[in-house]
């Protein structure tokens, strides 16, 4: 498979379309259709708060972690893309299979190395505020403790400030489940679910034949988010918390260590483990039920120039509060994170050296230049603030907004020759894969 290239010499040992390049390299961003991310405040007709925006940008920032992770460009977003999971994540030596990762391995924090390859799935964070306790083994009662542990103990970051943890907690708690028209209030199936799903719903609530006090529903309580907030030993090598079934169609691989790929395998496992004696038809009905409960209306969202501009604008809006508040830490973190986002954004407009893309070279180069100009203007804000000149930072900041307004039409014009176009994207990555094959 692939190797984790740390440092500036991030090589490109890509061997398959299924593989994932080291974090921070180009193919790692190979998601034109991204997991949909919805925030509770916006769903309720409100807006993104300062804390949410700050948390969102910190979530994408390697600056809050340390050691090898920071050097490799790893952030929370690497494992939880758009607050969801990352089924393609694979780091040799730390992953037992795609979609898993050992958070107590030797690379990212040698102090936490337990000498065992015990890779787990980074779970989707949709609905996380309803899913305490945290971590697969449920050892953290609060999300706050979990976040702090991930930064300091899993990824060797410095002790985060209170405002950093506040923001990350606010962001994660805002990530909503995706709407699912097949699920009615109170965790019941809606009428539009299939007949098989409705039959599965009955089976799901039916007592086990050898233990009438138990059913699937006794742990996955169908009262809203299908959990019981407890840990159980179901024969998978320890005590692990009950995962939610909401939107779970998009959460594979399943179980704490990602050992199973499909609902069919999951149902088969429990059939054997609890000796349920299910017929083939009953197993199929249970799968149909899980598929209905785990569905979502729009699980992915196409990424576009406008979507990138909107996200970056949301991140930058943090400075509207941080500069007047003379909050040097947040200004520095914001400029670093947004600068990184802008650089990645700019790489979507291939330069002349990319021979897989034809046409629109002048437009692409103008777009790249515009993005680089934005990076430097924002850096000017950070430099002023770092020198204690917050008035200077306040004076420089409107220049950034003005430049964005001027750059936006050029960026949108260049979109048709950029990696936001599916055909151009495929040609670009096909060429990279070919290069990688030659390099082997």
């Amino acid at each position: 498979m692939l190797t984790l290239g740390l440092g500036a010499a991030q090589a490109v040992p890509i061997t398959t379309r299924e593989g994932v390049l080291p974090p921070g390299t180009e193919l790692n961003e190979d998601l034109l259709d991204q997991p949909t991310e919805l925030f509770a405040s916006e769903l309720a007709g409100g807006k993104r708060s300062y804390l949410l925006n700050l948390g969102d940008l910190l979530f994408s920032s390697p600056a809050i972690v340390g050691g090898a992770a920071r050097q490799a460009g790893i952030s929370c977003e690497t494992c939880h893309q758009q607050g969801h999971n990352n089924p393609k994540l694979f780091i040799p030596g730390l992953s037992s299979r795609p979609g898993t990762f050992d958070v107590s391995g030797p690379l990212f924090n040698p102090k936490a190395d337990n000498g065992v390859l015990d890779a787990v799935t980074p779970p989707s964070l949709r609905g996380a505020k309803y899913l305490a306790p945290y971590a697969h083994d449920g050892r953290f009662a609060s999300l706050r403790d979990f976040i702090r542990n991930a930064i300091v103990n899993e990824f060797a970051g410095a002790e985060p400030s209170a405002q950093v943890v506040d923001a990350l907690e606010a962001y994660v708690k805002e990530i909503s489940f995706l709407p699912n028209p097949k699920l009615a209030a109170g965790g019941r199936l809606a009428p539009q679910a299939s007949d098989a799903a409705h039959r599965g719903e009955v089976l799901f609530n039916k007592p086990f034949r050898h233990d009438a006090a138990m059913s699937c529903a006794s742990c996955h309580q169908p009262t809203g988010v299908f959990v019981d907030h407890r840990v159980h030993d179901v024969g998978t090598g320890g005590w692990f918390k009950t995962p939610t079934l909401v939107n779970a169609n998009f959460n594979a691989p399943y179980f704490h260590d990602g050992r199973l790929d499909s609902y069919g395998q999951v149902v088969g496992y429990f059939d054997r483990h609890f000796d349920l004696g299910l017929s083939d038809g009953e197993r199929a009905d249970l799968v149909a039920y899980l598929d209905a409960v785990g569905d979502a209306k729009e699980p992915t969202t196409r990424n576009t120039v406008q979507a990138e501009l909107d996200e970056i604008a949301a991140f930058v809006s943090v400075l509207d509060t941080a500069i007047p508040a003379r909050n040097g830490e947040v200004i520095a973190l914001t400029v670093d994170a947004v600068g990184s986002e802008l650089r990645e954004f700019g790489e979507n407009f291939p330069p002349h050296s990319d021979t897989s893309v034809r046409g629109g070279l002048a437009e692409r180069l103008r777009a790249r230049g515009a993005v680089r100009g934005l990076v430097l203007t924002l850096r000017q804000v950070a430099m002023a603030a770092a020198g204690g000149d917050f008035d200077g930072a306040a004076q420089a900041f409107p220049d950034y907004r003005q430049q964005v307004a001027q750059a936006a039409p050029h960026l949108k014009l260049a979109e048709r020759w950029s990696l936001f176009d599916p055909d151009i994207r495929e040609a670009h990555f096909a060429a990279l894969r070919q290069l990688a094959e030659l390099a082997r």
């Binding site: 440092g7 500036a8 050097q71 670093d336 790249r368 680089r372 430097l376 850096r379």
Partner: protein
């Protein structure tokens, strides 16, 4: 630049030294990429700010 305005001139020299220190790592893997990007951007900003003082056009970034 030293003759026109010694303070920004000194800042530019200091920043060039910062960049030199960062790239003097024992190998490429040891280079602190985040620090190097930041220092490079800061140097570019300083040079952009200095240009008008030398009656030069502010350089644009691009290819």
């Amino acid at each position: 630049m030293k003759a026109r305005d010694p303070k920004p001139a000194a800042a530019i020299v200091d920043k060039i030294e910062d960049v030199e220190t960062l790239v003097k790592a024992k190998d490429l893997k040891s280079v602190d990429q985040a620090a190097l990007k930041k220092a490079g951007e800061e140097l570019a900003v300083l040079l952009q700010s200095a240009a008008p003082k030398l009656k030069l056009k502010k350089p644009a970034v691009g290819e």
